[in-house]
């Protein structure tokens, strides 16, 4: 099993969710996050005060998948979230040892 963590632009949440639903992925965790990579924040002045946004608001998606789905999911996320500009985000993949469904103790891919 693989854990997919995707940091995307806020505006791309709906397109990415739709793209994942289209390939049959329903379950995901969505987090509101802040951060930056190479895309640094910016400063806005309002009424003489300086408001610096150095950590940019982003959306983080987390999914744990059977390995055979991973490439399809990565493909779906990248094509839905890409604008070609700095700030489109990143996808991280990592191995997952096991999964347990709390309701009935089911384990492994069956619990996903």
């Amino acid at each position: 099993m693989t854990k997919v963590e995707a940091i995307i632009q806020n505006s791309k949440l709906e397109p990415v969710k739709n793209a994942l639903h289209e390939i049959g992925v329903e379950g995901m965790t969505v987090l509101e996050v802040r951060g930056h990579g190479r895309q640094k924040g910016h400063t806005e002045f309002y009424r003489g005060r300086e408001y610096t946004v150095d950590l940019i608001p982003k959306i983080k998606l987390e999914l744990v998948l059977a390995d055979n789905l991973v490439e399809k999911v990565v493909q779906a996320i990248t094509s839905a979230a890409r604008t070609g500009k700095i700030g489109d985000g990143k996808i991280f993949l990592s191995r997952v040892d096991d999964a347990i469904r709390i309701r009935n103790d089911e384990r492994g891919e069956g619990a996903l």
């Binding site: 806020n10 505006s11 949440l13 996050v33 806005e44 309002y46 009424r47 003489g48 940019i56 608001p57």
Partner: protein, 856 residues
């Protein structure tokens, strides 16, 4: 033996369930289960403790809590007290009690046993309030009746009399804690019928408070039937029947002591006619639930308010202090409002003033007052107050700090829907939405409440939004929009915004709102999801911001919509407004506000079919070409900032310029005075106007300056009258306007007037030091240079800044003047010889301004 008992218990329980499923009668079901459990425990008593039910001596079995009350729901705990005269029997029967308890557990009953001596029962432990409270429902089951009688007849009354203050205080604290856990409201989409406000626990609490109060007075047990006043009983009994049926239904359905009324439970309860005579929809069934829960909540909170006053001197002192706010119409006793003249309840104006009084002071209505209001509702329904008069009262209520509580009280009495029938469809309405926690009406009240609470909040975000809220010119329009924004949810349509708009439109017609106010309210309702939609786009993209800014049109509307969004999200559920969202809304707000200031000089062309232009022509069909010529070349912002009525007034003033070259219009608003001057453009006009106002001691808080293609200037100054010159002397209005006219005509010596004013005032030290900031921007306009000046606000500041412009031959195309506390934030669009300022012009002007502003 145990298997026989288990079978018998299962058989009897199944019989009770069958009877409940046939009748839906919760009260009967809990009574039958109580009897069943009594038989079981008495049987076990005979088997394990004593062959004789009334033996042994000095040891008794007592039912407590729900079992004691005779309210055993299908999966409720069974509270039992093993009561001993002293420790001798406790030691002697220890093993027998263990066997007794074990057999009950083997039946899979949830036994909560307590073993106490009489002396132990006499101790009040604030950390184990539940035990003392459970004694209030104690009932003899078996054993030595004498021991029970000593507990019941002597010990408990003595304990209650001794500890009544602490007991009531602890009960009140626990109740408030429990209510806070459920957001202080009855109106949850999936309520807990036991613990949420308006649930069975509130009913119990009302009875306990009444019982403690009565025992404290009588020194013994009162007649349980006269515990609650008849008016309260009338409301509570049907509510209790309903809730008992619902809780019984939930226990049977869930197979455990789970009292959460989920959406699936609501569907099933409605289909099975639980507590109602005929089949209804789940939404209608929930309205019945909320009606009953509301009655219980109302009575229990009134008792909470009333009873502590009898004991706590601090509380009495506070209530006595509150009673000083009584006036000729209303008296305040123990935080509850009474009518001084009961007959006055027939007067709708007094009624509305009473809710304003509540909203102002944060008070509740007394039961008597509520009863009186309920009595007059039918006659009020035939001639309800309406039109501008109703709006006048309603807006005053909406602006008060406890407006939401007053609205809830009006809603609870059905007065709000009588005055605003448009709210009927959302009264106690459950709309199933994963994020929403409250009914639609409660959500709207919470949104209003959350704006009022911004001022007191310690949260950083509330503080920031609170500052914008403090700047609103017409907050009542925002409150009205929030009250009506979700009315469309009562209709079974996909687009609730469109439907809310239609409903609100009827409501605004009846309230007879001014056309411009009506436009604002409808704008806010129509766009109340717009900012949330922007949050789903790239908020750092210039195109997103410009599109949104164009839609908002004016900074005032932007502020209102931003606050509306903030309050709307915050009222969805306590976790909905994350700091992440608050920050994003703020980001959109400041970038859009900046955009509106920096794109203010796009010129109007009267023939381009601008929507506002078409409306103006429709309003003044005879004006034809003349009005087009007046509007031609004015900045687009002018039409956004001014209502149609104001534009037509300016146009009429411009038409009179031939006979009188300086046209003035002075009016008083809620926060400040507004002076509009329409005249031909001339050198240093803005500086002269600003100087004339400063010379009169007026503090300019906002100003707009616009000019059209033919050189007609429309300058509007909003100012506060620091010395109340105009407020206290009506004849001064005339003299003030004459003085302004003569200054503009060059007949009066402005510099001398200013010198005299400054000399008489002296100089006061500033409370907050604001550093002067001067910023030029050449990019945001095609033909002028934007200058933003941030400086310490002080008398005559605008005159000094704009005089520098005149001195450097800079022409003001647009001026947008604002003040925040002691900080002046002034934006000017300047040209020099009809073009943008050169780098050299900017350098010289910056130096001159810094010298002028920092030279004090």
């Amino acid at each position: 033996m145990i298997s026989e008992l288990r079978n018998a218990y299962a058989e009897q329980s199944a019989r009770i369930r069958q009877a409940f499923e046939a009748s839906g009668d919760g009260r009967a079901a809990v009574a039958q289960r109580t009897v069943l459990l009594e038989e079981i425990v008495r049987g076990l008593w005979r088997d394990n403790i004593s062959q004789q039910l009334d033996g042994p001596a000095n040891f008794a079995l007592v039912a407590l809590g729900g079992f004691g009350r005779g309210w055993l729901f299908p999966y409720s705990d069974i509270d039992l007290l093993f009561l001993h005269e002293d420790q001798a029997t406790e030691e002697a029967f220890r093993d027998a009690i263990r066997r007794f308890s074990q057999e009950l557990w083997d039946l899979r009953l949830k036994l909560s046993p307590a073993t106490r001596t009489l002396a132990e029962c006499d101790r009040f432990d604030a950390n184990n309030l539940e035990f003392t409270v459970s004694l209030l429902d104690c009932r003899y089951l078996a054993g030595d009746a004498e021991v029970f009688a000593r507990l019941h007849d002597k010990l408990i009354p003595r304990l209650i009399m001794r500890e009544s203050q602490s007991l009531v205080q602890c009960l009140a604290d626990l109740t408030r804690e429990r209510h806070a856990k459920y957001g202080e409201t009855v109106f949850h989409l999936e309520p807990n019928v036991k613990d949420a406000p308006g649930g069975l626990r509130d009913y119990n609490m009302a009875c306990w408070l009444a019982l403690i109060s009565a025992m404290d007075k009588l020194g013994g047990w009162p007649d349980s039937k006269s515990l609650l006043p008849p008016s309260a009983r009338r409301q509570l009994e049907p509510a209790l029947d309903f809730l008992m049926s619902v809780r019984g239904f939930l226990h049977f359905r869930h197979g455990r002591d789970d009292n959460a009324l989920t959406w699936a439970d609501q569907d099933e309860a409605a289909a099975r006619k639980i507590g109602v005579p005929e089949t209804v929809t789940a939404a209608q069934w929930m309205k019945v639930y909320f009606g009953h829960a509301r009655a219980i909540h109302r009575v229990s909170t009134q008792l909470l308010e009333e009873i502590p006053a009898a004991w706590s001197s601090l509380y009495r002192h506070f209530q006595h202090w509150r009673s000083r706010i009584s006036n000729a119409d209303f008296s305040v006793v123990d935080g509850l409002v009474f009518l001084q003249q009961p007959a006055a309840v027939h007067d709708p104006q007094v009624l509305l003033r009473m809710f304003d009084f509540m909203a102002h002071h944060g008070l509740k209505l007394s039961t008597t007052t509520e009863y009186r209001i309920e009595q007059v509702l039918p006659s009020l329904a035939s001639t309800p107050p309406k039109g501008a008069e109703l709006w006048q009262y309603l807006q005053v209520i909406l602006l008060e700090p406890y407006a939401a509580d007053a609205l809830r009280a009006m809603q609870s009495l059905r007065l709000l829907t009588l005055l605003l029938p448009e709210l009927k469809t959302i009264d106690s309405l459950v709309v199933r939405d994963f994020y929403h926690r409250y009914t639609v009406d409660e959500h709207s009240f919470r949104a209003i409440e959350s704006l009022h609470q911004l001022k007191q909040s310690q949260s950083e975000w509330d503080h920031r939004y609170g500052e914008i809220f403090g700047e609103l010119e017409r907050p009542e329009l925002l409150f009205l929009s929030l009250l009506l924004h979700d009315t469309g949810k009562g209709a079974a349509v996909d687009d609730h915004v469109r439907c809310s708009l239609e409903i609100a439109s009827h409501c605004l017609d009846r309230l007879d709102l001014e056309p411009s106010d009506r436009e604002t309210v409808l704008f806010l309702i129509e766009n109340h999801l717009e900012l949330s939609a922007v949050l789903r786009r790239d908020i750092f993209d210039a195109q997103t911001v410009s599109t949104f800014a164009e839609k908002m049109g004016t900074p005032e509307r932007l502020k209102m919509l931003c606050l509306m969004t903030y309050a709307d999200i915050k009222s969805v559920n306590p976790e909905a407004l994350t700091p992440w969202k608050a920050e994003n809304i703020w980001q959109v707000y400041i970038t859009t506000a900046n955009y509106l200031n920096r794109h203010a000089d796009q010129r109007l062309h009267a023939n381009t079919g601008n929507e506002n232009m078409l409306r103006l022509q429709a309003l003044a069909p005879g004006a034809g070409k003349k009005i087009r010529s007046f509007v031609e070349g004015l900045p687009a912002r002018y039409l956004r900032a001014c209502t149609s009525e104001e534009v037509l007034r300016h146009f009429a003033m411009a038409q009179r310029l031939d006979s009188d070259p300086v046209q003035l219009h002075l009016q008083r608003g809620r926060h400040w005075y507004e002076l509009t001057v329409v005249t031909g453009d001339r050198h240093a006009l803005f500086a002269t106007m600003a100087g004339a106002l400063a010379a009169w001691g007026m503090n300019i808080v906002k100003a707009n300056a616009f000019s059209n293609q033919s050189g007609v200037v429309v300058d509007t100054f909003h100012f506060t009258d620091r010395f109340r010159t105009l407020e206290l002397n009506l004849p001064e209005w005339e003299r003030f306007q004459r003085s302004i006219t003569s200054v503009l005509a060059g007949e009066a010596d402005l510099e001398r007037m200013l010198r005299e004013r400054l000399r008489s005032e002296g100089s006061a030290a500033a409370k907050v030091r604001i550093q002067t900031r001067i910023e030029f921007d050449d990019r945001c306009s095609s033909h002028s240079t934007l200058l933003q000046v941030i400086a310490q606000d002080r008398p005559g500041l605008l005159h000094r800044i704009s005089s520098r412009f005149a001195h450097h031959k800079c022409n003001i195309d647009i001026a947008l003047i604002d003040t925040e506390g002691q900080m002046a934030i002034d934006v000017f669009y300047l040209t020099s010889n009809g073009a943008k300022l050169t780098a050299d012009d900017q350098r010289k002007l910056r130096a001159a301004l810094l010298q002028e502003l920092n030279g004090d």
